[in-house]
Symmetry: C2
Subunit: 398 residues, 2 copies
């Protein structure tokens, strides 16, 4: 029997509704009898890699089961998060820290940048000859990891977006005009696309959906809005914050003049600039008086009570799967892929994949999910996304 090794687990990147479920899924698996005597202490690093560099941890064996279950149901990253890309120098300090604490396992929960951070740590550990089993646990509301059919966090954020647009569409029915809703998604349109799930009736909004995957043209946008107004007498528009023109530069990033994080990402959320700019275009060019824009912002990833139970369960199981993989697969680094199984009803499996499958480069909406017109999604997308968000509230109209 191997000697017990200690564990560091941490959260990174943007919070989500269910990243705590992944943390708790992993911690409960680590504390279970199945790990035998192979797992020693469990350190929860506070604020991701920054916490490791500062030596700031919580003892995850001391947290009561009741508290863990409550944390699993709470949005945001309970250990704190960061957006820190580790340098070679950071890694040296990380391994000193790990050595002093006899750490043999490292779990990092996050999106593509966090996977990249885990990959760097794993690679540097090999180079330095530090014996480390390193697993990334997937999370991102953007749904843009190449390693997953869909990512934990997406289903709940998509549920929020679908509910929000559903209510907003009813609001627009009552007062008319044009309503623009700006939805998160830096490079991929999956979350904005989820607005399509709001539709119950043929004339329900959103009437137009704009994604980063299709170059945005102002001329085309104005034509689309006029056409929808003619058809429906009103217009609800879902826009991804990541829409970009032919130059490939996100329009919102140009407007927001925001900062960059250490992964090179420009700030786009947390400002209403894109929505306001689009509203000005509609007012000026479509001759419509009542034009409103809302930017859903951080509510999409952190609204307590608006959660997909499927998403939460998968997040929990992805955390547990990473622990199993670390202890039993014989592989010393990897990420957990979520695979949708060919089955009559919706079903997923958890697979071990190379971290590089999740790290750095993201995936976009596949072509078959985007309507040929470029201003809507296809029924293939709706079939793909519907099981992920759970049943939505039924809304009636006269």
């Amino acid at each position: 029997m191997k000697k017990a090794k200690n564990v560091v687990i941490a959260q990174s990147g943007g919070p989500s509704m269910v990243i705590n479920a992944s943390l708790v899924g992993a911690v409960i698996a680590l504390r279970s009898k199945a790990t035998g005597s192979r797992v020693g202490r469990i350190f929860g690093a506070v604020h991701g890699i920054e916490g490791i560099l500062k030596g700031e941890y919580l003892d995850m064996r001391k947290i009561s089961e009741k508290k863990l279950q409550a944390i699993a149901k709470t949005p945001s990253s309970a250990l704190g998060s960061c957006r820190h890309k580790p340098t070679a120098e950071d890694c040296k300090r990380i391994f000193e820290e790990f050595r002093s604490r006899d750490v043999g396992y490292f779990f990092y929960i996050g999106g593509n940048d966090s996977a990249d951070a885990a990959r760097i740590v794993a690679d540097e550990a090999e180079k330095a000859g530090y014996p480390l089993v390193c697993f990334h646990i997937p999370k991102t509301i953007d749904n843009d990891l190449r390693s997953c059919d869909h990512t934990p966090g997406y289903g709940s954020a998509a549920r929020f977006v679908a509910c929000a647009v559903k209510g907003d569409d009813l609001d627009n029915r009552a007062l008319g005009g044009v309503k623009i809703d700006v939805i998160m998604g830096r490079d991929a349109g999956f979350l904005a696309a989820a607005s399509s799930l709001a539709r119950q009736r043929p004339d329900d909004g959103p009437h137009l959906i704009y994604l980063p995957e299709t170059p945005f043209s102002e001329t085309r946008f104005v034509r689309d809005v006029k056409s929808a107004m003619k058809k429906f007498g009103r217009c609800v528009i879902a826009v991804s914050e990541g829409i970009r023109g032919k130059d490939g530069i996100p329009i919102g990033a140009k407007l927001a003049d925001g900062e960059r994080d250490s992964h090179g990402n420009v700030q786009m959320s947390g400002t209403g600039a894109l929505g306001d700019a689009l509203a000005r275009i509609v007012k000026a060019k479509c001759g419509i008086k009542r034009v409103r824009a809302d930017t859903f912002g951080y509510l999409q990833r952190s609204f307590p009570g608006v959660v997909s139970e499927t998403d939460r369960e998968e997040a929990f199981l992805a955390g547990a799967a990473a622990v199993r993989a670390a202890l039993e697969s014989g592989v010393n680094k990897g990420t957990i892929g979520i695979v949708r199984e060919e089955a009559k009803s919706y079903k997923v499996a958890y697979a071990v994949r190379p971290i590089s499958d999740a790290a750095k480069d993201t995936r976009s909406m596949p072509r078959e999910f985007i309507s040929p017109s470029g201003n809507d999604v296809t029924s293939a997308f709706v079939e793909y996304a519907r099981p992920l968000v759970g049943e939505l509230p039924d809304c009636a109209v006269f």
Copy 2:
């Protein structure tokens, strides 16, 4: 026994989560056996007074009970809404329309402007000698009617705000910096104040709350943010869209450059301008790098599933109370006041009041609800508001 008279009922102003419950409460009461043979046809005017002027109605006797129950649970104004202040000329046309349809009862569901519209219709009917029983049914998420302890619609919007800030505060715990949340409320701070209900722990946000009732000073704001950052290492700020400087002009209205409705109200919602302006101030003057602003916008009044059951029930009962008052009180015009009774547990009664008590002028947060510092609410406000929103999701932190 009096001859049966027909009814017109309509919705007006901004939608809410429960204005349909008031509509259904009134319609079910009108269709009940208790009205005997006094109530004939029930016309639901489409888009408020504009529908009356156009002769556009739904037959509310033909709607199935099942559909009505579904409508009662659906956000927004199912009959459609408008923001139309009736002129003397409009009233002439309204009475011609009413005469041709043998309408003896008019119910108008809405806020202070809608109450004013109902008051004008009632007064003009008297002048014109048209026999009309006219009742206003209260609704507004702003909670600013002088006639009510609290208004139907407020509890659910307040619930949304409290949940949103609760989740946002957890998000801010994870990633730090300053987060600004702009909350609806043209003249009264009740909705922004509801953010205080998000707090579970002493260090939970919102750490600062700014209301229209206290003149906003940029100098003071900067000092407050610096002080909160020092105390908590982070800062969540709830700001009413209606905050104004010493000149009394809402800052958001100046920034948004929006249109006016026929009641003279300047557009403030549906733009991120105020939040972005405040974020720029914090970045420039407080030396804080991570500053984000979200404007909750229309989601606050129309998010399906986020509802206070107490609010919905009261909205339903206020609709029914208006019907009872119209048929049984002997008064030919009025509004329904919601009165909180002196009791051990929360309890309300429905009273008939003059329409002028609800019309036009609104009420502000009373002084005892605002902290002396002007940047928070008091425990008296929390006690007042807590029963209105229902139990909030419990959120855990390590």
